[in-house]
Symmetry: C2
Subunit: 123 residues, 2 copies
């Protein structure tokens, strides 16, 4: 398993789905998954997806700047930084950073998210 | 174990030691530890501490802005963002974000770092 290749593929999938229809991210989470979004904790697929779909913007576009990955425990620790533009405000993007612990599916065809921490870095 | 309390205590210890004498961070790492520093991978206490001590600045001061934590696997995933001033350049601090996977020591009196990923977020 090439950690960096998995991280890059995951980042492309995750942020593309997020920017297109973030309700579809539900397939990445499980009932034991944890997400901390700007300091607010959420647990389980339903709570996480509810938070994501209720974020107060319509259009969002992520541009990933850095992708890092390391094997960690039974899975992978991945870490992304980048820029985030909401509702067409492309001239004033926000910086974000986000870390995920990924776990391989039982059939080893993909990964799910056991841990997800997101922060905006205000300038 | 209160994940947020551990994360806060760890952040205070880590960045205080880093800013005072970063060679003393060696006690936090083991030979299996991984660090990715601005995209460069390092493994093992000796390589990690060599990188940290050879960073091209004398004085450094971290100011942690956010502290997040989640239980993850056999340990804790912690995530920090903040500001970093080097060599007295306090008026132009850099933004940083850093994530660690912490593992409890065998005698359960403290934690060591199995994974460490650091990034500067340029404005």
């Amino acid at each position: 398993m090439d950690a960096n290749a998995v991280a890059k593929q995951f980042s492309e999938f995750y942020y593309n789905v997020f920017d297109t229809d973030r309700s579809q991210l539900s397939g990445l989470y499980r009932d034991s998954s944890m997400m901390t979004w700007e300091g607010q904790p959420f647990m389980g697929t339903a709570n996480i997806v509810e938070k994501l779909t209720n974020l107060p913007f319509e259009k969002v576009q992520h541009k990933v700047t850095t992708v890092d990955a390391q094997p960690s425990g039974t899975g992978l620790l991945v870490f992304f930084t980048g820029l985030l533009a909401v509702d067409g405000n492309a001239e004033q993007p926000l910086q974000f950073s986000q870390t995920f612990q990924l776990q391989q599916n039982e059939n080893q065809t993909g990964f799910w998210v056991s841990n997800d921490i997101f922060r905006l870095n205000y300038g």
